[in-house]
Symmetry: C2
Subunit: 236 residues, 2 copies
DNA sequence: GGAGATCTTCGTGAAATGTCGAAGTGCCAT
DNA sequence: ATGGCACTTCGACATTTCACGAAGATCTCC
């Protein structure tokens, strides 16, 4: 899940810079910890090197979100072009290895995404529940490993930052176990996507289970890699 | 470690807002997910309600880090005054319970902090190594639980975002085990603080172990809660 | 259907950002 | 000590932010 790491790292950097008493110093810290000279950063941003220096020295006390975002993105891009050595170093911190087996991808939207748009992107068919809802994120979960490896408290991690999300369970056989797991768990997602089966294969108990927790259920046969890259690539 | 959660949550919020294509929408999402009306937020920020609306509606395309920080902080403060229900909800996501037993506190500085200043705050004595260094963060670790509970790969999590940090091991007897653990591990901190013992009690092998990895070693008898609150309270 | 609370839109002026380029500092290597 | 590289400082000016308050739009709950 490389792209996931990049995004989380970007968020961490941006957050730290934004909250810092001196955003300039924080900016500098990150540039330096990626071993990037001001000049190169300036070149990639297509601005003059003095601009970078002005920010880092604190002449602009409160830089706008736009440049902070651009600078963070550029720092990461430069590292990616060099093979991503620093991103990979930071990646170890972000994802504990346990996550990689269980959570294939996890993402939060900054603004609501319509459920029917979402369904369209992953080519999903509605099994039950309303489609005029909005979600704030999604999680792609390896169904088997989630049930084998997660303790009940760890199970909550699949919800990321909002329960207003879609949980995509991969390679399900009938979809019954994921729905049961959700039934017995305190948090409820807005939507569950069963990946790898056709509408006819969906277990007949599912609409009943889903209705109790007001969850919309979809299914898709798009393969997991395609789902992840389609969702990642989309800007809503 | 309540304060730790607040900080991490603030960082997450600020990062998401800063990186968003429309910071206004992201701001709105967070305000709403804390169930705070614009009017109340405006009042606490001592600005007129239209200011909030202007931000959220996107009239300001790239708000500065200063206001973003202020808004995030105010949202969190309002929730704290209401008993912190939403902060606690998000806290579940930030800290897996496993962390709480092992990592008492973990913090990153946006700009370098001198090691001797740091030592002063926690009333630490130098055992060996140079003090004219700088660190970018610290981690307070329960020594016993760390060694009992952490697998070798999980051990890396104590480094947070930078290895240029101080690792504070609590309630050590001689300090040997923590130093051995660091010796056999790929990442090296700048500094190790042994909490709970006097300089005379420090195991004689320690200077030798520390020198190999160029680590400065300190010790302090300040109690853990005091250390955490002193470090948290300090703005450098 | 109207009172009230919540939110949006907009004109405005002071202040700050965003960018440039020229000139200056400091530190290695040759 | 003469470059060269990395970085800093600064004046200038166009563009935005920031904050206000008045007026309009929505929604909800009698």
């Amino acid at each position: 899940m490389k792209s996931g790491v990049r995004h989380q790292l970007a968020e961490k950097m941006a957050g730290e810079i934004t909250l810092s008493d001196s955003p300039g110093q924080a900016l500098k810290k990150w540039r330096q910890s990626f071993n990037i000279p001001q000049g190169l950063l300036a070149e990639r941003l297509e601005v003059s090197p003095s601009v970078i220096s002005d920010y880092e020295s604190g002449r602009r006390k409160s830089p706008g979100t736009a440049i902070v975002g651009k600078i963070v993105d550029t720092i990461l891009s430069i590292d990616e072009d060099n093979g991503g050595q620093f991103i990979n170093k930071f990646a170890k911190i972000l994802y504990s290895e346990f996550d990689e087996d269980v959570i294939y991808d996890i993402h939060e939207y900054a603004s609501p995404v319509g459920l029917s748009d979402f369904a369209g992107v992953i080519d999903a068919t509605t099994i039950c529940g309303p489609m005029d809802q909005a979600i704030y994120g999604y999680t792609v979960i390896n169904s088997l490993n989630a049930i084998l490896q997660l303790s009940s408290s760890e199970f909550n991690r699949i919800y990321g930052w909002s329960t207003e999300r879609a949980l995509i369970f991969t390679e399900v056989s009938t979809g019954k176990s994921p729905m049961v797991a959700i039934r017995v768990t305190p948090f409820k997602p807005r939507c569950v996507v069963l990946q790898g089966i056709s509408p006819e294969q969906v277990h007949p108990l599912i609409p009943g289970l889903a209705e109790r927790d007001r969850i919309s259920v979809l299914c898709t046969q798009m393969d997991v890699e395609t789902i992840i890259s389609s969702l990642r690539g989309k800007s809503w």
